[in-house]
Symmetry: C2
Subunit: 200 residues, 2 copies
Amino acid sequence: MKKDLTDRRMLRTRALLHEALISLILKKGYDGITIQDIIDKANVGRSTFYAHYTGKEDLLRSGFTHLRELLLEQQKQALAKRGDPKARSLGFSLAMFEHALEHRELYMALVGQRGGTVVMQQLRKVLAELVHDDIAATLKITTPDAKKREVIVEFVVGAFITLLTWWLDHKAKISPAEIDSIFRELVLHGITRSQDLPQK
Amino acid sequence: MKKDLTDRRMLRTRALLHEALISLILKKGYDGITIQDIIDKANVGRSTFYAHYTGKEDLLRSGFTHLRELLLEQQKQALAKRGDPKARSLGFSLAMFEHALEHRELYMALVGQRGGTVVMQQLRKVLAELVHDDIAATLKITTPDAKKREVIVEFVVGAFITLLTWWLDHKAKISPAEIDSIFRELVLHGITRSQDLPQK
DNA sequence: TTCAATAATGAACATCATGTCCTATAATGA
DNA sequence: TCATTATAGGACATGATGTTCATTATTGAA
């Protein structure tokens, strides 16, 4: 196929497929969707689908370009809106939380419980236990609010898995002690003290 | 089947299946593995597999109980080893980083790049851009070390996705402004100031 | 309006994974 | 030794995948 990209038929087909995908994600979650579902919902021929995308993932990926532009636009507005320089650090976050609430169903289907791998779900569970006990045993965070403790545990687990993943994916050129030091500094004191992180 | 749990045949079969799974994870990653692969590798009959587990996920999940016990043991030792109370906060982390380095291949296959969903990978990419620009624009972290900036971006993205996920999964009983405030406080100043988090 | 280019259709097809069922065989523990 | 129970392995129905091809419909440009 020649992929004109301005041809109305192609635009129409692609739009139909994207709409079908989102509709199906809302109904049964991304993982459960089959290509058969998509082309049925979109009323598009099987061969037509493969003429545009190599598979389910390809279709999803191409859909993210829309989200990306939307978020960039929101960030631009957020940065321009407020005057206080310090208060607007990480200004993107509130906009995104609001956006998530607005499209809650879609977000839940994508990044909610079902959004993670089995592996990740299990790992998080195991780590949450560890962190919970660890924090209770060593840090004197005397919070009667159980929900607040829960958020903190989630935060620590998320940060840990994130740094672990980053470390592993980057050939682990720094030692366990170094990445551990970075992890502890960031989790305990946040990014405002990041100049204290060990060099290299 | 009666599931004796002490019958040598069952123990042997289960061990074979677990070994096959790990071996295959190392070779082609969890997602690419099929049940056919597993039973071929383990030399176990198809019906036998289904007599023990309901599917691939079930087998993997049951494997995590081993890892869990291992980590709990390590944490116990870590907590008992050192004397300084403040220094041992989050003491589990170093042990786990070391453990990850030791079993690097397995960890990479499970939590590395391939460990995440397509959705998550894309979302992280989009967010990393946002965070990078945001931090550069508002925080005056004058770090010449590009790698350090990269870690910080990863940390913020991970924390954000974690809290977003938690928030969505818990019916979002708190407002966007509240969860955003929690997010910013934790990311900017860490958990040691967590008593300053907004109530409720 | 005409027409060559090209996108969409839909059916057919080979391939592969899944989960279930069954009978015969082998291993086990008492 | 023997009743019990797990395993082997073949057969089967089901359903998803990705490809191919001849036909039809739509499109944009002349």
